[in-house]
Symmetry: C3
Subunit: 337 residues, 3 copies
């Protein structure tokens, strides 16, 4: 890395920290992991982590901000940043932050997220304004995303009315239950090269729904299982090449629209969570505007990232490459805030 | 590449074009992608594609043949060649074509395909001459393969009789529905070294059947879902090592028999699509005599290809390696036609 | 490799032999594959296998022991060693054996295995002392592990009583059927560095249960399918990073306890076969105290092993690295017996 300032890459010890810090080290950065005492033993195992900063709880993050700033740390947010610190504390963060914080308000609110997708002209499931309007199977989601929780499924209006009584969330969205297979596309948009890459793809591994298929239907009936969608892992996928063009176009429309509705727009890694129907149509269920856990499958590279780079590039490493390039060009202000 | 003639690798922009052209570039070839206007933006993204030839529709392919011949292009067929150009236009192609065109007639006809497999002595599902003979669950397939479409499932004779009324295909084959798990084996037979390699394995990712398992049986009944088998992706698998010997033997018998029934026999990549039963018996459902889309999972190498090569070898790259070797030995006529 | 003695790596031709011998060759060892005549053609295909020793049946293994000893071979056990030779013949083996043979008695007996896990304080499913005590769905397993066979599922006490009549095993264990998703963690414990690594993860691919999810419930009922759990392959997974800490801790407790109850303790590769519930709790179903077949997915490296090593390290290669390190330090007696 050219220049007299030696930047370091830092992130919270959770979610995709190993990938982010490994990628940073591969690109020549020093690395910092901020974590709670119970996680120190995990992150201590890995040589590519140069320093561990311990905090009692993740909400103590502001207490070590000055230290991080002194270290010339750049923070790489991931799914646990919002989950542990909350949207407001993310926005207030003083450490240089990779990605556009203004996107947070749009992402964390399911209604605004939907507005964004609709404006972008990408396919989304039919929405029902109220339970009375339900005319097909639906999935009901609370406004705040919570890693696979805060969902329920209802076959029809009657089932909705029964289940909504026990649903904790007050604000929720009722969407058509799209029948098809899930596929998560991991994008990276470079504000420097202005190019959009697809780096990898996955599907979630959810308990208990991903075990149901292994239980014969006659046995299921005796068990009285209530389906749950708790994400505990991921498995790799590749997409039919004839659908790849559309996947890129959806990503590009989402980025282009973000520039119109959000100052600075969306940059860095993001994920479109899609369902693909038997008519080979995508339906976008959600957008995550940061690195997603499914990219952890590809720490040693993927079938897609190899199309761009002659080395094993994960999303975590791609972020470090972008920061390195920005430093080289004196353009850090374009990617941090 | 030795020699004064600089050959180029060309393919249609679809299916596994990225893999084929990336592999060609990695082996030192110049690359050409022939595609329709809607796909130009996709293939333009990748540096390993040296030239894009645009045609209005894939059926215009003959119009650019002379151009390709002048460029010293070698065409690598994949699944979309037959789908878009048809068997007859493939056979008439004047551009040098990797693989034996005579195989096309055997592959595209489900009856001849079955004859081939039976002659090879590899396991195939029981066939029923007519609907009246059905005595177990069956799968009914139209003669022409169509990437996961043109199938239906019937539990028994009665269900067959109801469903056949709405089936568009006039020519179809009725096969025993083999209960077991699917596994697709990606072979490569080198007519130069006379050796057969297994390069990778996958299973298809089909919508909507691969989503059914995530819906509890009591909910499925309310939804009235009709299962479909539309392939939209693939996921990786490895095979129990004690079954690997048999997998190689099946591949070898299929190649050996092809030499007896088809002038020149089968060479290059092919795929045996199998079901494995609880008795650990294979049942071959279909053969694809070219590169299959499941190999797209392994553009950066696979657990199997690493057993042969000290670099990341996809099926696409393996094809380029074969052409390179043939050029070196002055044996191009052995692999092109 | 320093030193005047040139050790060779040998294993039985089955299970994960390709991975083990490829890894050994990558680390600079000569390799020997011992196999039955029907497998010779398989192992002959691979250049990294230097010598094939043919035996009529695997039970003839003792007949070639002196030859192996003369060759300075080190035997790497895998799943087929116990399956083909039996526990007693493994223990009597005279060829230097990687791993602690004393572990075999604890692993092969489901009751002792359970004692070990309970002592280690790792989560295991509830056990029922007898059929009369059953108050929830259960899985019934014979004492001897047999690669996915020797199981049955019962929804309740009544179903248990019907099914036990046709169950061949006399000694069996009745365990709570834990509803959740399976995940197999591939560990490696180095007795030299005293460190525990997680090298990869997978789930099994089982016929026919992994096909059931693709058959709609209304169709399943007509088919009268009896579920079976025969392992014919594996597919890759990654684990949610927030659960990784616990996975390491479980592995460490199992190793620490092994040192207390078994002279020398457990070393080398082992696998914890877990179910993860919707409450994100692990439940350990079984331990395999050697290389497992799921590692065959990662012959060219994995997302996890890349966190430790700057080269593609499979479990097979990791074993060879450990032996190489032990030779360098003159500490072979620590890892062989």
């Amino acid at each position: 890395m050219a220049g007299s300032v030696k930047y370091k890459i830092a992130t919270l010890g959770s979610h995709s920290a190993l990938q982010i810090l490994k990628g940073a080290k591969d690109e020549g950065f020093s690395t910092i992991c901020i974590c709670t005492p119970d996680r120190v033993s995990l992150y201590n195992r890995f040589n590519f982590i140069d320093k561990i900063l311990e905090i009692s709880t993740f909400s103590d993050f502001p207490k070590i901000e000055n230290k991080l700033i002194k270290e010339k740390a750049i923070a790489i947010p991931h799914g646990s940043f919002v989950a542990y610190l909350g949207v407001e504390n993310n926005k207030k963060m003083k450490v240089p932050y990779f990605g556009n914080k203004r996107v947070l308000d749009w992402e964390s609110d399911r209604l605004k997220q939907r507005q964004w997708m609709e404006k972008a002209g990408v396919p989304v499931p039919k929405k029902f304004a109220s339970g009375d309007k339900i005319d097909r199977p639906v999935i009901v989601k609370s406004y705040g995303a919570a890693g696979g929780q805060g969902y329920f499924f209802a076959k029809n209006k009657t089932e909705f009315k029964t289940k909504i009584k026990n649903f904790k969330a007050k604000n929720y969205i009722i969407q058509e239950y799209v029948i098809g297979v899930p596929l998560y596309v991991h994008f990276f948009y470079s504000p420097i090269s202005k190019e959009l890459e697809i780096l990898s793809m996955d599907k979630r591994y959810e308990t208990n729904v991903d075990s149901l298929g292994r239980i014969p239907s006659q046995n299921q009936q005796g068990l009285g299982i209530e389906p749950s969608f708790v994400v505990v892992g991921n498995s790799p996928l590749t997409l039919r090449e004839s659908l790849l063009s559309e996947a890129f176009q959806m990503g590009e429309r989402v980025v282009a629209t973000s520039k119109k509705i959000i100052k600075g727009g969306l940059w860095g890694p993001f994920c479109l969570e899609t369902i693909i129907t038997p008519e080979q149509k995508f339906s976008i269920i959600e957008i995550s505007c940061r690195i997603v856990a499914g990219t952890n499958l590809f720490i040693d590279g993927s079938s897609y990232s190899t199309l761009y780079w002659n080395k094993p590039v994960s999303t975590g490493r791609r972020i470090a490459m972008e920061i390195k390039e920005a430093i080289k060009r004196g353009a850090l202000s374009k990617i941090l805030n």
